[in-house]
């Protein structure tokens, strides 16, 4: 009885030491980080006043500016839609490569994984910088950037979905003499279709948010208008743009949640 209790205590102590060390590491990291940063002339205690000051200057929002941002807003939605569709087209083969049960061999499997990792690790805005060089500034570069960023996301999650499918169904279709394309259409596609639709809508929702900043690097969308207003210190116009973005994002989020609920 006593021996059992001692053992239990030891385990508890080890756990506690582990947690303590982890907390210590975190604390040291935070303190070290703060001291490392060159925070410049700005004193942290002035932040609330500065931010408050800026918000005051934004009020009231410039309602008349709304007319000027309808076009860029539509462009943002278009970029997100095209980017998502492009990503979907590219993601299906990537997912098939990155799924252990459909990839032809080890080399293709790693190719799939590499595409997924690279796409996911590079931010949309960086992809946009790259495609602005390639296609010139404008929404085309933005749409391609959105697509390249989304491929990894869709490819990864879709690939995981493909790894989960019931392979017996695939085998049965193959046993009837179906070609590879037909096996894909009848054996695999029906099983991953709900995920395919759900993930695409979800990514479209994310892409709307991402598309709002493409304008900063000249890749189109409402961001162009936003940054123009910011640089002109037209804070009331900035407020209008921000409110519109907020509205669109909230609307797409609810639409996305609703549509995903419909797919079964």
């Amino acid at each position: 009885m006593a021996a059992e209790r001692r053992e239990w205590e030891r385990f508890d102590r080890r756990r506690r030491i582990g947690r303590f060390l982890l907390t210590l590491v975190a604390a040291v990291a935070v303190v070290g980080s703060w001291r490392f940063m060159d925070t410049g002339i700005v004193r942290p205690e002035t932040i609330p006043r500065e931010v408050g000051d800026l918000l005051t200057r934004m009020y009231p929002p410039d309602v008349a500016y709304t007319a000027r941002i309808v076009g860029p807003l539509v462009e943002t939605v278009q970029i997100a839609a095209l980017g998502t569709i492009g990503a979907l087209v590219l993601a299906v083969p990537v997912a098939l490569l990155a799924a252990e049960n459909t990839t032809p061999n080890a080399a293709t499997f790693w190719l799939g994984k590499v595409v997924v990792t690279v796409s996911r690790s590079v931010n949309t805005i960086v992809w946009a910088l790259f495609f602005v060089v390639l296609f010139g500034s404008g929404p085309l570069a933005g749409a391609v950037a959105i697509a390249f960023r989304s491929v990894g996301f869709l490819g990864k999650l879709l690939g995981e979905e493909i790894e989960e499918i019931d392979f017996g169904q695939v085998e049965a279709v193959r046993a009837a003499g179906a070609s590879s394309a037909q096996v894909l259409l009848y054996g695999i596609l029906p099983q991953v279709k709900p995920a395919l639709v759900g993930l695409s809508i979800y990514r479209w929702d994310i892409n709307i948010r991402d598309s709002t900043v493409l304008g900063f690097v000249g890749a189109g969308g409402i961001g162009v208008q936003l940054f123009r207003a910011v640089n002109a210190f037209a804070w009331q116009s900035v407020a209008t743009v921000l409110i519109v973005i907020l509205g669109v994002v909230v609307a797409t989020e609810s639409l996305s949640a609703y549509t995903r609920g419909l797919v079964r």
């Binding site: 982890l22 975190a26 990291a29 935070v30 070290g32 980080s33 703060w34 490392f36 940063m37 060159d38 925070t39 410049g40 002339i41 700005v42 942290p44 002035t46 932040i47 500065e50 931010v51 800026l54 462009e75 939605v77 278009q78 970029i79 839609a81 095209l82 569709i85 990792t117 690279v118 690790s121 590079v122 931010n123 805005i125 960086v126 910088l129 060089v133 390639l134 296609f135 010139g136 404008g138 929404p139 085309l140 933005g142 749409a143 948010r209 991402d210 709002t212 900043v213 900063f216 690097v217 189109g220 961001g223 936003l226 940054f227 910011v230 210190f233 921000l242 973005i245 907020l246 909230v250």
Partner: protein, 266 residues
């Protein structure tokens, strides 16, 4: 058994076949309209793709002078530092906001206000928050910390508030029944129920913050992003590749650290 051949059409989710085709046509129309809208004409795409070969050549192999490498290192450390500090500040600020945004613990107006704040925080991309932070308090990592803190609060207090809404009110009542003060109720009835997920979420958010902190320098909010933008603007593409590799490496390491810590300690 009808004579001759029966036909079969696949049933659709739409009430009528006409509706189905209308929806399909609408989608196709929208895509074409979008394509025209963004100026995706084939010639331009072909031209761009034609250039891509030589452009990729410009980006390879990655290279950086010793001074540039030193700069990558400095600014990368700044990014990590920004992410680390703002994870803490973000979490600290999230706790009261989460309590105020939990439907079962907070009065209605306060609940609505805090939920609104969370929605705003989540709706805006870090780049937009960053550019406004820079205008408010000037260039540098402090603007970055402000940005990432703001984004962290939206993420963290939403999840925390949901956890709080799911807690077992029975044990809270039990603590209250023993004559505990509100603070004691919080410490003994509520906190133990949410602590386990708390640690895991913190590390997870730190991982996301690392990703954000490597980017927002593009708008002047500190970290490696500024170096990246400068290199791009100077057409120093091999240096760009070196910076990108550094970013990808740091992001992957952070992801790994976060995964290991979450698996071990939660």
């Amino acid at each position: 058994m009808a004579a001759g051949s029966r036909t079969w059409e696949r049933p659709t989710v739409f009430p009528r076949r006409g509706v189905k085709w209308a929806v399909y046509a609408g989608v196709v129309g929208f895509v074409i309209w979008s394509g025209v809208g963004v100026g995706a004409d084939p010639a331009r795409i072909a031209g761009g793709l034609g250039r891509s070969g030589s452009l990729v050549g410009d980006f390879l192999p990655p290279s950086a002078t010793p001074r540039q490498a030193q700069r990558i290192l400095d600014k990368m450390l700044e990014s990590v530092a920004m992410a680390t500090v703002s994870t803490l500040t973000g979490i600290v600020l999230s706790v009261p906001i989460a309590f105020m945004a939990a439907e079962n613990l907070s009065p209605k107006p306060l609940y609505a206000l805090n939920r609104g704040f969370i929605s705003v925080s989540r709706a805006f991309n870090a780049i937009i928050v960053g550019i406004i932070a820079v205008k408010a308090i000037g260039f540098g990592p402090l603007a970055g910390v402000l940005t990432i803190t703001f984004k962290t609060v939206g993420f963290f207090s939403k999840l925390l508030a949901e956890d709080l809404e799911d807690i077992d009110m029975g044990s809270v009542d039990a603590v209250r029944a023993s004559g505990a003060s509100p603070v004691q109720i919080l410490l003994y009835g509520v906190v133990p129920q949410i602590v386990p997920r708390f640690a895991g979420l913190s590390v997870y958010r730190w991982d996301i913050n690392i990703r954000t902190s490597t980017i927002i320098g593009i708008v002047g909010a500190g970290g490696i992003g500024s170096v990246l933008l400068t290199a791009f603007n100077r057409y120093d593409y091999r240096y760009v590749t070196a910076i990108l590799l550094a970013i990808v490496a740091v992001v992957l390491v952070a992801e790994g650290v976060s995964a290991v810590v979450r698996r071990r300690y939660t």
